[in-house]
């Protein structure tokens, strides 16, 4: 009996020590290192929880024609997310297109051709229906390009991550508003991730944040947080899902639009305005030279 009591006391003491509590200060440390999930994680989870017709909900944008680096970074994130959807939908044509567009966009950040798998190899995998391998390749490219972008400017990594995440929100909310279930809707409960992106966006340099896209993202992030902050295990109501879809749809349209805004686009416009003025000066100088030559010749002839 005494042995049993002793054993029970030891067991309880061990239990008390194993319930190692975390102080509030220590809990705050966790937020300093937020791991961003890859797009395929949420796609796979949603595929498991809901009956989604990926081919029907997917919408692709093939443009790679952007003047500003911040916009290229945002669009790279969007296209990578669309690439994962194309793979999930087992859509040969659009998967090939997304690989090609991602490559075109990534080249702006010094991504070398060695980073990309040969087009013929992609075509072979597509023909053989090796979707898992294709997903791995896209993931690998995604990571390598982010490394290259980081060397270029860490802001672009943040922009690409946020672009990809917003496109994920767009696709998931679109799928869920049409095929709503309480269980599947809770997939968008990701408060720390939203806080992380909101905070990272505030650290962007002015040259990368003073544009309509980033200003709009900064405006809607608290709204997204409010709509998704339902508490762990609780569903996001259908009304909130519709709002999330509308918001993410609008920002996605703004990101992929080819309208030239910001510094580079502005300078191009200024350049086109300056061009005729430059020509006037050139014609003026040429005219002056010709007139001077004419008068000199006339003067000489007169003598």
């Amino acid at each position: 009996m005494r042995v049993l009591k002793l054993a029970l006391m030891l067991f309880l003491t061990a239990g008390l020590f194993s319930q190692e509590g975390l102080s509030d200060e220590e809990k705050a440390f966790f937020k300093s290192n937020v791991v961003v999930p890859v797009p395929s994680e949420i796609i796979l989870a949603l595929d498991m929880l809901s009956d989604i017709n990926w081919k029907a909900i997917a919408a692709y944008n093939l443009s790679a024609n952007y003047a500003d680096n911040y916009k290229i970074a945002l669009n790279l994130g969007v296209r990578v997310a669309q690439g994962f959807i194309a793979i999930q939908a087992e859509d040969r044509k659009n998967t090939a297109e997304m690989f090609s567009v991602c490559r075109d966009l990534a080249e702006n950040f010094g991504a070398k051709s060695e980073m990309f798998v040969d087009k013929d190899e992609i075509a072979r995998l597509l023909n053989e229906g090796k979707w898992l391998e294709l997903r791995g390749i896209l993931d690998d490219i995604h990571l390598k390009v982010k490394d290259e972008m980081y060397k270029y400017d860490p802001d672009f990594v943040v922009l690409a991550s946020v672009g990809g995440w917003l496109e994920g929100l767009h696709i998931v909310s679109k799928a869920l508003k049409d095929n709503y279930s309480d269980d599947a809707s809770s997939i968008l409960y990701q408060p720390e991730l939203i806080d992380y992106f909101t905070q990272e966006m505030t650290y962007l340099k002015l040259m990368n944040s003073d544009n309509p896209e980033v200003k709009e993202i900064n405006r809607i992030m608290p709204e997204i947080k409010r709509l998704c902050d339902v508490g762990q295990g609780n569903p996001i109501p259908l009304g909130a899902m519709n709002e999330l879809y509308q918001m993410s749809s609008d920002i996605s349209a703004l990101i992929v639009s080819e309208t030239k805004t910001g510094s580079d686009g502005g300078s191009e416009d200024d350049g086109s305005k300056e061009k005729p003025f430059v020509w006037y000066i050139i014609y003026g100088v040429l005219g002056f030279i010709l007139l001077t030559a004419f008068f000199i010749k006339r003067k000489k002839g007169g003598e």
Partner: protein, 166 residues
């Protein structure tokens, strides 16, 4: 000035000196290779642990993008990370330590630190895989703690894999 044998001896020493200098020069040249200077034995250890653990999780049907995080305990004795996990997926978390002198402790929390999903100790220079099927989507927290590794080459690593929870 010198007789023949002294001259021979002098030539011998001169040749010997020349050979020693040439050997030292050659050694310096290979020793000065920047790649060899940057060689880090610990990197190979976590690389090895990563390679071994990756084989194991791939065989179990998990997918990982190979984005492994590593660091030294003398720089950060406690490692903290926040993850977003989704219901519907299964996760495999791989925690490892290389060249550490003491065992390490790792804990994983969910539901705003209320649930402790795993808490375990790891031996020296090894890894462990922890499997999680989250019952709720949301935020989860990982802590890796060294047991007094204030200095030395002790290194930590972590990464995760996931698969659809079919």
């Amino acid at each position: 000035m010198f007789n023949f044998s002294t001259r021979k001896l002098l030539i011998f020493f001169l040749l010997l000196g020349l050979m020693v200098s040439a050997a030292l020069y050659a050694q310096n040249k290979t020793g000065g290779d920047p790649e060899e200077e940057e060689w880090d034995e610990n990197a190979a250890d976590t690389e090895f642990l990563f390679g071994e653990s990756k084989k194991e999780i791939l065989a179990a049907g998990f997918y990982t993008n190979g984005d492994v995080k590593t660091g030294y305990f003398d720089e950060s004795p406690n490692v903290y990370a926040t993850f977003t996990l989704y219901k519907g997926n299964s996760y495999a978390f791989i925690i490892g330590a290389a060249n550490n002198l003491n065992p390490i402790k790792t804990s994983f929390y969910g539901n705003n630190f209320v649930d402790n999903l795993f808490s375990d100790e790891l031996d020296v220079s090894t890894y462990k895989i922890f499997y999680i099927n989250p019952i709720h989507s949301g935020t989860y927290y990982l802590k890796i703690q060294s047991r007094g590794e204030a200095e030395g080459d002790g290194e930590w690593m972590y990464y995760y894999g996931f698969k659809q929870n079919k």
